[in-house]
């Protein structure tokens, strides 16, 4: 397997219609809004959940932090879950031996730990000095994720719509009327996620290029395939991955080089066709750094209109004109 040995920056745009991309558990599950600016927020935790679920359910990959809906028999806790990865029998000669064995298998098996890192609490039985008695030692394995995402944010101010409807059931036994349900939706939000893949941290978790292919697949198809009531309108629009050949280097803040323009006021935007994405700064900044860039990988669903200084352009063509090699990703 090819190990990741270059740095990358990722920008991912997706939108949602009549949905709730990320509810706030402490605010009646309303969409998260930055009150100061009216911008819709989606946590990195939500986004990584989308990717994890896709990799587990659709790609058959083992993940560490997973939610199993049904399970017979005894119930494990996380320490037992960690023991699933113990390849040698307890009691162990030393705690370190067990920790090393678990760590190796954990990184071999769990793609989410290789991508996003994780903390695994350990509780292992270790032989005492006289070889017959055992004692329990505790500790943990910690990995910093090579792949980090910022909190995602909408590229425009959003509008929250409050819905009321009738539920299917009564609120309690014996009641004769059905209960009401209430929820808050966003009529529209175009969300911008930014991430970095760090080649140095990748060595610690044995992250491979194959894992990155799966990550991108999870970002794109996981977003699209997340069929729950509140997320069903999600559509991936653009994925841009800039790969660097210069070591330890990245430009940073690529997400801020995209800006949204529209004839409508922000809160009235309801469709991707009503906006244009201005990328003059992106093209210029990437062009200035072309010697440090290996290539730019692009996946687009073709529905975004890009502009350069107000003039409609083709993203891939203008990147090439700026001296950046491009590669089209098919999802």
């Amino acid at each position: 397997m090819t190990e990741v040995n270059r740095r990358s920056e990722i920008v991912f745009l997706y939108d949602i219609k009549d949905g709730n991309p990320n509810g706030d558990p402490l605010d009646e599950n309303k969409p998260r809004i930055d009150e100061e600016t009216g911008i819709n927020l989606v946590t990195d935790v939500r986004f990584k959940r989308t990717i994890r679920d896709h990799l587990y359910k659709f790609k058959g990959k083992e993940i560490f932090v997973r939610e199993i809906s049904d399970e017979n028999g005894s119930i494990q806790d996380a320490k037992m879950r960690a023991r699933d990865f113990l390849t040698i029998d307890e009691p162990l000669d030393s705690f370190e031996t067990g920790k090393r064995a678990i760590n190796e298998k954990l990184l071999d098996d769990c793609i989410d730990v290789r991508l996003f890192g994780g903390t695994v609490p350990l509780e292992l039985k270790v032989k005492k000095g006289n070889k017959t008695e055992t004692k329990t030692e505790t500790g943990s394995i910690t990995h910093t994720g090579p792949v980090q995402f910022k909190i995602g944010r909408s590229m425009h101010k959003v509008f929250t719509k409050h819905f009321r409807g009738t539920g299917a059931f009564a609120s309690k036994e014996g009641a004769t009327q059905k209960t009401f349900r209430e929820e808050d939706f966003l009529p529209y939000s175009l969300i911008n996620f930014y991430g970095i893949i760090n080649e140095n941290a990748a060595k610690d978790t044995k992250l491979s290029e194959k894992d990155i292919d799966l990550l991108l697949d999870g970002m794109w198809n996981g977003t699209k395939n997340l069929i729950s009531r509140s997320k069903v309108g999600q559509i991936p629009r653009l994925l841009l991955k800039v790969n660097y050949k210069e070591g330890n280097y990245h430009i940073g803040d690529l997400n801020n080089l995209f800006s949204l323009k529209s004839e409508l006021i922000d809160e009235e935007i309801r469709d991707i066709s009503q906006v244009r994405i201005e990328i003059q700064r992106l093209i210029d900044v990437l062009g200035k750094n072309k010697d440090k860039i290996e290539n730019a990988q692009i996946c687009s669903d073709g529905s975004i209109t890009f502009t350069y200084g107000g003039e409609e352009i083709d993203l891939e063509k203008s990147l090439m004109e700026a001296g950046i090699n491009t590669e089209t990703l098919s999802m």
Binding site: D24, P25, L26, D27, R32, D34, E35, E36, L41, T43, D44, V45, F64, V65, R66, E67, I68, E71, I75, Q76, D77, A78, K79, R81, G117, T119, V120, P121, T144, G145, Q148, F149, K150, I151, R153, Y194, G195, I196, N198, N200, A201, E246, G247, N248, Y249, H250, I251, G252, D253
Partner: protein, 233 residues
């Protein structure tokens, strides 16, 4: 004395106050220990070792607030990973409001007694490189930075009022001259930590919330060639 100066910024930041657990509050500025972590990330020192390079004896570090301090709250579901059954039938979710800093920007100043550490940092900053991903307290709060330059700092006798641009450690303060339209705050932050993460020194620092300078007389002050007055933490 030569000082390296760089600006660091991000959309959000969270520097957890040591005494908060279930409702994590954030300091208004990155503590000295967190700045050491950022410099460690740029130079590529591992999590377990970076602190040993940035003790007070070896490194002079301080920070200026470049963008007004704003705080908001972001709620998240956390899992008690120690007892989460199967990491799956997760019943042990706790909903936590993280207090976070918003639209964060600071200027960092550092000088170092080791030429090797200093020169490595200088060359990394100059080329806008970093070994590990820079963040503002938590990994999701990814940061970016810009090198401002290497500057000569001259020690300034300051028996009278001077303009001070960095935060002011309270123990260096003689007298402050309060001005209209400025908001003064002080916080107790960790100053020095051992590699095993035992904090061995806390210190009180004074700052102006809106990124304005403070007029004060202090014990020791360094003046940079761009006119900024700084005091190391």
């Amino acid at each position: 004395m030569k000082v390296l100066v760089f600006d660091v910024w991000g959309e959000f930041g969270h520097f957890r106050k040591h005494y908060t657990t279930t409702s994590p509050l954030t300091y208004s500025i990155p503590p000295r220990t967190a700045i050491a972590g950022m410099i460690g990330a740029i130079e590529g020192f591992g999590k377990d070792e970076y602190l040993q390079y940035f003790s007070k004896e070896k490194a002079n570090i301080t920070v200026k607030i470049s963008s007004p301090i704003k705080k908001t709250r972001i709620a998240e579901n956390l899992i008690d990973t120690k007892i989460a059954p199967l990491m799956s039938r997760i019943k042990t979710r706790t909903q936590i409001r993280f207090e976070v800093l918003k639209d964060v920007k600071y200027r960092v100043y550092i000088s170092h007694s080791s030429e090797e550490v200093y020169n490595k940092l200088y060359s990394m900053l100059k080329e806008h490189k970093s070994v590990y991903t820079l963040c503002l307290g938590l990994s999701e709060h990814i940061a970016n930075y810009e090198f401002i330059g290497e500057m000569e700092a001259v020690s300034e006798l300051s028996d009278s009022e001077r303009e001070i641009h960095s935060v002011i450690p309270e123990k260096e303060l003689i007298k402050i001259s309060f001005e209209e339209g400025k908001e003064y705050f002080s916080e107790t932050i960790p100053i020095e930590m051992l590699p095993n993460r035992e904090v061995i020194e806390y210190g009180k620092v004074l700052f102006e919330r809106n990124a304005k300078c403070i007029l004060a007389s202090v014990n020791s002050l360094w003046r940079l060639e761009n006119g900024e007055g700084i005091i190391f933490m």
